[in-house]
Amino acid sequence: MEKHKAPTGHSYYYNAATKQSTYTRPVAPPVAGPVAPSPVTPLDPSQSFLQYQAVGNSIPSAGPNFNNFSQQQGQFSGGRGGFQGQSQHGDRPANYRPRPKPQPNDKPKSSRPIPGHEPWALVQTKYGRRFVFNTAKNQSYWRIPDKLKDGILALDQSRIKEKAEALEKEKQVNSERAPGAAERPALEPKEAAQSHGEGEDESAEYEELEVTDDEGEEGGEENPSKRQKTKEPSQDEPVEFDEDDIAFQLAAMGQEYGLEPGEYDDGNLEEWDEGAVEEISYEDSAYLFKDLLKDFGINPYSPWEKLIEEGKVFDDIRYTALNTMKARKEVWEEWSREKIKLLRELRAKEEKKDPRIPYLSFLQKNANPKLYWPEFKRKYKKEAEMRDTSMADKDREKFYRDHINRLKLPQSTLKSDLLSLLKAQPASTFNSTTLSSHLPPTILADIRYISMDAGSRDALIDTFITTLPPPPESVPEEETEEAIKEIKDRERRQKALEERGRLVAEEKRRQQRNLEFGKGRLRVEEAEIARAMNVTKKGLKNHLMTEDSGDKPS
């Protein structure tokens, strides 16, 4: 048993007899341990498979060396399943690289644009410090300028509300879990890994260990809260804020900006929790999850397993909006279906791009009369233009050969060819309003366009465009017959609607007039009846007398 010092500074112990090395000093060499010289001694239960070998050993007089030898054999060949770990155990110091202690280097974690102050963004660092960053000037300041303060305040309030909502949900999700599990220092996992890194057995890959579950089991004794975390890493990972933290931060912010306690929500998170966000409906959480998928740029064509294996989305709080994996998968399925549909519609709308255009411009850049086609192909086989599947290789070859042959022609021929190409264009697509940067595809996809070198060609085309007539008047109408029909239809509908409105109004007026008229007549009749009923002592005579006089209404 010797003590050695590893190149990294750790000391370890090496047993020359068993060729095993450990970090912890073996206190008493166990009688039943692998070093046991006699084959008859009881063996470690974990190595019970050695018993059979030992029993079968017909040479009891063999020295300890021999036994060791058979031991090694057993370890390396007989190890199936459970004994795999031990065989790796032996050669650990060789490829064991302890990681350096984590340096407290702060770095930006999230950045949000400040609403209302456009080029500015508020950046939060890993350790919770904040600074402002001007995206336009690429400058950042720890000290926050006064003019940004109200914007930041608004931002903070919205963010805290969001967090509180998520927390509420979180609580519902893991109400049965220990309350202390949520709050833990951000550095803990690394430290835990560090502390038990000196522990008993682990495989050579350190990086993997840190994320797998069995690591949690190893470190479980030292760190009970850790185990809980590894069981459900997806659920409590995003939470670093506590309600108390939020309340504290809010209060501090209020003080910082000199607000009255009433102006912000002063620590009474529960109040608006109950009011606003107590119960998030399934639709809302589904939308949250969909937003998450959208924001992470998930490919809707990818399988669900890929999303889970990558695990990018686990860190987002919106991942916990849905409680069960089944629900998540359902929502994901729905989302991807919608998205694919949308993509397909978009694709149908946008016009087909001619693959020849990029290829020809690529040829103009790279084609060289010194290269044969196979050489050219080999040289540029990685380029996107050369790998585009929508263009056949034969066509590519044809274009290349044509282009190389044309390069050998005299300039004047090329020029006249180009001019004839330009002249052949219809006036509807190629006229004085055409921009030289937006030439019609019929020109761009022609071999004659790329034969001249770019500078002189562009000058030539520019001058040619100035000589062209303006766009013909009738052509757009012809082209947009459909649109015109549409417009006419719409006008017709509009007119019909107006006509109908007018008719209705007239009808209404007539009815009104009838009504008035009827009412007037009714009134007159009523008056007459009233007069007739007004019989005095004189009897009917009175009436007759008034009729005679003619000017005495009752």
Binding site: G81, Y301, P303, K306, R337
Partner: protein
């Protein structure tokens, strides 16, 4: 021996292949890894389990793209089947009731078993004794009954 066709002489795949190309590449890389993984310390019957698993996943991927999400065209689907990206026979089973989750074709091949029965993984979880966990011998499936 079939004629070797160079990649450049091959006909281009139908439209929409570029959307799923990356994911298919991931599957084929996984498959290569599984093929090249060592078989030491692996029980003899379990050597092919990862192969079955990946081929099942890939078939399922293509199946869902075509039948459930309707994300790929019929031409592309047929092209994928023809070029071995998915197992057409397995997909044919998935379309039948009771076989929606079938793991592999060997597990429903009753003639190959001693008692003319299907594989243990076809037994619904509800009918298994006290939550016993099984991994079927042919492909390592842990249960593929439709009711699970």
């Amino acid at each position: 021996m079939p004629a070797i066709r160079h990649a450049s002489k091959r006909k281009a795949p139908p439209a929409g292949f570029t959307d799923i190309e990356d994911d298919l590449l991931i599957f084929s890389n996984k498959m290569k890894d599984a093929e090249n993984a060592g078989t030491d310390n692996v029980p003899r019957h379990a050597v092919h389990w990862p192969i079955f698993q990946i081929s099942h996943q890939r078939s399922r991927y293509v199946y869902e793209l075509y039948y459930e999400k309707e994300a790929i065209s019929k031409q592309l689907y047929e092209w994928l089947l023809k070029n071995g990206y998915a197992d057409a026979m397995l997909i044919a089973k998935w379309k039948k009731t009771g076989y929606e989750k079938l793991c592999c074709l060997r597990c429903v091949q009753t003639k190959e078993t001693n008692f003319n029965s299907t594989c243990i993984c076809r037994v619904p979880k509800a009918q298994m004794k006290d939550n016993q966990n099984v991994e079927c011998v042919s492909c390592g499936c842990r249960g593929c009954a439709s009711s699970d």
